[in-house]
């Protein structure tokens, strides 16, 4: 998708999208709550998205991401809390608010028996684009998706990556100020993923489009997003730039797993090592596992920590085979925040 993203803007644009007073933040959500029965799936989530910002919205399956996005996009009404889209109160004027956003659902939300052009024409109609601007926008969106040549083919005949691109194109027709991308790279190959990234970055560069990017693939979020919100159990666990989020993790994370023989050499178990590291001044030391006891240490000073590891190994006759060192990343941050991998699910 190395195409020029300059879109026709001169005529008949969706009225609400053009007449809004520019707000500092494109999206502000405050204290969102959604309950299903007695269970609060979303429990007081607040977040904001600045103009031209790409916000990563991270969390494992069941964390409340999709429900939050459903509320932010008007598919679900929140039980409590407020949503402002470019200054428009969602609850007070949902039609105006909706005209400002575009949504790319996680599913391929298209009609497979229709052609790409017919799909785009239908969604353009849903956004009430006039006849002339509709044709221009459809041609532009097809160009963005790199599918101009196959516009007349049924979507069912496309590859997974091509379908994903049409899925995104359908959300761009009314040129929203805020684009929600819900797991847009599920099931696509590396090349299509890169094309999608490239498109998102160009949309931001060309139009100042803000993006909420939902994913549980940490490397994608690290690569693409300016700021990140991590949710779990319906609550925001952490929020900030990648640098801000990773700073408390120090220089890295050390994991030391003991086999049964090694565990037997320690009279008080793996706690012996935990006490030693705590005394050494490492910020957080956690232990876990019965069969394979594992120690996790946030490393503040890597050379000093490695010297400490060497000393302890010699002192207790332990091997070094169970030691892993990790660079601080969002995966390790999530592990640090929740004690489990993000892909473990809720």
């Amino acid at each position: 998708m190395t195409t020029n993203l300059v879109a026709p803007r001169d005529v008949e644009t969706a009225p609400a999208a053009e007449t809004e007073i520019e707000a500092e933040d494109v999206l502000t959500a405050d204290g969102l709550v959604k309950k299903f029965g007695d269970r609060a799936v979303v429990d007081g989530v607040s977040l904001y998205v600045g103009k031209g910002e790409i916000l990563g919205f991270l969390g494992p399956n069941g964390a409340g991401k999709s429900t939050t996005i459903a509320m932010l996009t008007g598919a679900l009404a929140p039980d409590a809390g407020s949503i402002l889209v470019n200054g428009v109160e969602f609850a007070a004027d949902p039609m105006r608010a909706k005209a400002l956003i575009g949504v790319v659902p996680q599913e391929i939300a298209l009609y497979p028996s229709l052609t790409a052009r017919q799909n785009l024409a239908f969604f353009a109609g849903a956004y009430k684009l006039g006849r002339k601007v509709r044709e221009e926008r459809i041609n532009w969106a097809l160009e963005v998706a790199g599918l101009t040549d196959r516009a007349g083919d049924k979507v069912s005949s496309y590859s997974g990556g091509m379908q994903r691109r049409v899925n995104i194109a359908a959300a761009l027709l009314h040129q929203p100020q805020l684009l929600f991308l819900d797991e847009p790279t599920v099931g696509v190959d590396a090349q299509s993923r890169n094309q999608i990234f490239e498109t998102v970055l160009k949309l931001r560069a060309e139009f100042g489009m803000s993006v909420v990017y939902t994913s549980h693939y940490m490397p994608e979020v690290e690569q693409l997003c300016d700021r990140i919100v991590i949710v779990d159990g319906g609550r925001v666990l952490a929020e900030g730039t990648q640098q801000e989020l990773l700073e408390p993790l120090g220089e890295g994370l050390l994991e030391w797993s003991l086999n049964a023989v090694e565990a037997g050499l320690l009279k008080k178990g793996i706690e012996t090592l935990a006490v030693a590291f705590t005394a050494h001044g490492e910020t957080t030391v956690t232990t876990s596992g019965d069969n394979t006891p594992t120690l996790r240490v946030r490393v503040k000073d890597m050379p000093a920590t490695l010297r400490k590891v060497s000393d302890l190994a010699c002192e207790h006759g332990l091997g070094l085979g169970g030691i892993r060192l990790g660079r601080p990343d969002l995966e390790s941050l999530f592990l640090d925040l929740t004690g489990r991998q993000i892909r473990d699910g809720a």
Binding site: K98, P105, E107, I108, L110, F123
Partner: protein, 403 residues
């Protein structure tokens, strides 16, 4: 909303399975069933006749009288001999077994003696076990009645002959013989006619197509229930509803845009099926064909409302298929679409009046075979519309675009 309607029609037109279910399948079904049931319905005023065989084991005048009477009744295709040789009991049973004949009447030896003695003559009926009692009983009753008539006459003849033979006065003897001759020449044929209740506009007995086409039309219109509910489930699964909910379009427009095309398709379906009956089978549309329109609109509304109700309560596409197909077939059967109401037990005939399919079918038959006008069918169409409104009212509070 127009974009939604246009899209829905496009999607539906490309769904071959749905088109086959809605249009091709009923045409084939009603054609096959019309031909299959033609023999039954043709018995009055049409070429087809019920085929029976008769076995004369008595070889008497009384038995021959019965054979003659049945053969000349005009309502039955009677076989009493093969190649000039009278049919044996074994041959007759074989014909029933092979379903050549619907059943066999056996007049056993001693038949005439029983008639002359004034007792009830014994007659055996041999029937295929698969034959419905609701068909066999009335035919058996009619034939028995005919036999009673013939044997009474034969008994009178025998008694008079015996009395005449015993007379010595030639004048009295001649008078009795003349009376016997007059009885012998009496025809056993019944000059029957078919008429209809006073006030109904039908001029002749309805064709098999007038009987069959509306039934299958009503049944197949309701197949849109599973197609529409299935389409709603797919939109939920594929996330297209979720996407559309984020568009600046009120939910009522979204729902109306989804439902309206199916209403249109159902009405078009009725039009095509009735037109098929009219132009392919030569079926009469009655004296007031415009009266078919309100029934069709009300019927289509009912079907679409049921589809929405199903989509509101079903949790999965498999539930839609299972519940939808069962509901459509059971309601069609209860409504008299598959089996004519007269063959149903009494309690089921009562139920039919409360089933939308039964109400619609009755209204169609009012127009097609009873020659009724617009005024007569409006109450039925009104009830159907009320049922549709009721189902919409049940469905709407439960309907969810996303689960």
């Amino acid at each position: 909303m127009l974009a939604m309607v246009r899209k829905e029609i496009l999607v539906l037109l490309r769904d071959r399975a749905s088109l086959i279910t809605l249009f091709i399948s009923p045409v084939l079904f009603m054609t096959v069933m019309s031909f299959a049931l033609g023999n039954s319905f043709h018995s009055l005023g049409s070429p087809g006749k019920l085929s029976i065989s008769i076995v004369d084991e008595d070889h008497s005048a009384a038995a021959q009288g019965v054979v003659k009477a049945l053969s000349s009744s005009g309502e039955l295709q009677v076989t009493s001999a093969l190649g000039g040789v009278p049919l044996s009991a074994a041959q007759a049973q074989s014909r029933v077994h092979s379903q050549t004949d619907a059943f066999t009447v056996v007049l056993p030896a001693g038949f005439q003696q029983q008639v002359a003695g004034g007792g009830a003559p014994k007659v055996d009926f041999v029937v295929d076990p698969s034959s419905s009692r609701q068909v066999v009983d009335p035919v058996e009753s009619a034939i028995s009645s005919l036999i009673v008539t013939v044997t009474s006459q034969e008994g009178t003849t025998l008694a008079l002959t015996k009395l005449g033979d015993a007379q010595s006065d030639p004048g009295v003897k001649a008078a009795i013989q003349a009376q016997v001759a007059a009885l012998d020449s009496t025809t056993h044929q019944v000059d029957s006619t078919v008429s209809f209740p006073n006030g109904e506009g039908a001029k002749k007995y309805p064709s098999v197509y007038q009987q069959e086409v509306p039934g299958y039309t009503v049944m197949y219109v309701f197949f849109i229930v599973t197609i529409m509910a299935g389409s709603i489930m797919v939109e939920r699964r594929e996330g297209t509803f979720r996407r559309l909910l984020s568009a600046p379009m009120p939910r009522w427009q979204l729902l109306l845009g989804k439902v309206a095309p199916y209403l249109l398709v159902a009405v078009v379906q009725v039009g095509i099926l009735l037109s098929f009956g009219r132009f392919v089978f030569g079926m009469s549309l009655g004296a007031h064909p415009l009266a078919l329109l309100p029934i069709s609109l009300a019927l289509a509304s009912c079907a679409v409302a049921l589809g929405l109700l199903l989509a509101s309560v079903a949790r999965s596409e498999s539930q839609v298929m299972g519940m939808g197909t069962a509901a459509v077939l059971v309601l069609a059967a209860l409504g008299g679409c598959m089996v004519p109401g007269v063959f149903m037990p009494q309690f089921m005939q009562h139920i039919t009046h409360f089933i939308p399919q039964g109400i619609a079918l009755n209204a169609y038959q009012d127009v097609l075979v009873r020659g009724e006008s617009m005024t007569a069918i409006l109450p039925g169409a009104g009830i159907l519309l009320a049922v549709a409104v009721g189902m919409f009212a049940l469905a709407l509070p439960r309907f969810r675009f996303v689960r």
